[in-house]
């Protein structure tokens, strides 16, 4: 949409063919991401929220071409990533990095911190001399608040928060344009979570990074994101600037999601109106007809079962997929 957009995702669909349970059973198809689209501007943070199984991690991996998509396009700086050869795609990876939920699992246990952080550097700038290479590693460690003296240590000698810093240092060493953060603070304790959130925020401001920040923690997403995309069962439910979304959610699911988050203040938490959704998220193997949310939606009408709501513009920069968002 905007001129500064570096990433543009259109109608992305990711599906998995599941093996039939019996020999002659029907091959079943699981649509994990269904027709999601968004744009990302340089230096912007887009939060992606939703419950488990809503496809947020799948969406991130499909955007990074780590999973094949079954329909739709991902355009990065003018190139349709889906049409690139593996080698062309590999070369573009220097600009888009990924950090993970489980910080220790994302680090090879048999490599030193220095080797881990230098790995993308070795892949894309293999001709650096040892002195320059060492300086780059130290610079990246320093950037994320790791003591460069720790360069020869191994991941298991670090705490979770420190491991996440190592992961960020590895992602930052090539100064990418985009970092996709997949639940980067979910495995961390509250006091460490704040350190990492602040670090990501600082890196973004300093280097003009764009972030895709995936989390189920709405409070963190609200804090760090400029815009937020809400997913439910693989579908875009609502996309809006962060403050608009929290102050005036348009989709009933967004509203329920926000209301469900406990607020760490007894006076507010006890006084707030209860808006508890019944039931569970339906199986993505057998999504409801029409609107995916209608089985739990307090405002569902017959139309919701008959027709899937289209993604419509609901105000400046706001998209919502609901038949009744106006009410």
């Amino acid at each position: 949409m905007s001129a500064a957009s570096i990433l543009s995702v259109r109608d992305l669909q990711v599906s998995f063919d599941l093996r039939p349970a019996t020999l002659f059973g029907k091959r079943r198809r699981l649509v994990a991401v269904d027709g999601v689209g968004f744009d990302l501007a340089a230096g912007e943070t887009l939060g992606i929220v939703g419950e488990s199984g809503c496809g947020k991690s799948t969406l991130a991996r499909a955007v990074l071409q780590l999973l094949p998509s079954s329909a739709g396009t991902v355009v990065w700086l003018g190139d349709d990533l889906g049409s690139l050869s593996p080698e062309e795609m590999r070369r573009r990876r220097r600009h888009m990095q990924l950090i993970f939920q489980d910080p220790l699992a994302a680090l090879d246990p048999r490599m030193t911190v220095g080797e881990i952080i230098a790995e993308p550097l070795d892949a894309f700038e293999p001709d650096l001399g040892p002195a320059v290479r060492g300086a780059r590693i130290a610079e990246s460690m320093d950037l994320v608040g790791l003591n460069p003296l720790m360069i020869n240590r191994y991941p298991h000698e670090f705490s979770g928060g420190q491991c996440q810093r190592i992961g960020i240092a590895r992602a930052m060493i090539l100064k990418p344009k985009l970092i996709v953060c997949d639940e980067p603070v979910s495995a961390l304790d509250a006091s460490i979570q704040a350190q990492i959130v602040n670090l990501l925020g600082r890196l973004q401001r300093e280097f003009g990074l764009a972030l895709i920040f995936i989390s189920h923690n709405l409070s963190v997403v609200r804090h760090i994101s400029q815009r937020i995309l809400v997913l439910y069962l693989g579908r875009l439910v609502e996309l809006a600037p962060a403050e608009d979304l929290f102050v005036a959610p348009r989709h009933p699911y967004t509203r329920a999601l926000i209301a469900a988050v406990p607020v760490p203040d007894p006076l507010i938490e006890r006084a707030k109106p209860r808006l508890v959704l019944g039931g569970d998220v339906p199986s993505p193997l057998d999504p409801p007809s029409g609107c995916a949310f209608r089985t739990r939606c307090p405002k569902a009408i017959t139309l919701c079962a008959e027709r899937r709501p289209e993604t419509t513009e609901a105000g400046p920069g706001r998209l919502v997929a609901c038949h009744r968002w106006r009410e």
């Binding site: 419950e51 509250a190 704040a194 926000i258 406990p262 007894p266 938490e269 569970d280």
Partner: protein, 321 residues
Amino acid sequence: MNAILEIEHLTTRFATPDGEVHAVSDVDLRLDAGETVGIVGESGSGKSQLFLTVMGLLAGNGRAEGSARYRGTELLGLSRGEMRRYRGRHMAMIFQDPMTSLNPHLTVGRQLTEVLNLHKGMDAAAARAAAIAMLEQVRIPDGARRMAAYPHEFSGGMRQRIMIAMALLGGPDLLIADEPTTALDVTVQAQILELLRELKASLNGAIVLITHDLGVIAGLCDRVAVMYAGRLVEEGPVEAIFAAPKHPYTQGLLAALPRVDAKQPGDLFAIPGQPPNLQRGIVGCAFAPRCHQVIDRCRAVRPLLADLGCGRRVACHRVGA
């Protein structure tokens, strides 16, 4: 008042190949009938180990010292057989992951009625009726039919309800919930919290809610105990502590949380550093290396819990000094 559980000077140590770990260090806590107490702390703060010790569920390499009395009866040092009589019937515990606590090969009905046969000597028909009634109470619709289902046929939220039902079947007056909603999605968590809220009103005993989520505590608990590095650092009524935390750790923890109901400008408040390694003996206050109000005394002398009045206690040299 009517004390259900009195914990005094409780210390739990684990022998590990790399040395002894002090998981719980000299904790005092009292639970009265009718109250819900939240235990909050980060991973490794000893909040779960404290109550696993009380329940006699320590891992083999763990040793406990001190005292934990259930309605006046000392629990530490009871034989496994005696402890088993208390568990389920008087005290029950529910865990974060219901799937590990449920036997995947038995129907839910079988597992529920087993508890009743065991603890109350009910016959099959009575146990079945009671189990179905209990499923209704934890809001599992169509209980009679669901009794024949296996655990994997239920969703995560439903399984947690079954765990709660199972815990309540023996009629305990001490229910310990260890991170009961952590593995659940936020909308399902809201359902379970709603259920716990209802139970709280109907249960005569005490509920302990162990969690890392201050929001959950704010909504559900009467009192809160904050643990750090195996120690109890602050304890008191929920409203008072959330409104004016006294211990620098509690203050930091509350300030570090982004809020869903308001946008903080700028950076979050971050407590610097990491929690201490419990393998090394801690001298002085465990929080001292991360504390911005630290004085020399903090590094030398461990602060004891001091009574501040109004049911509040805090372990900090800088408070009330």
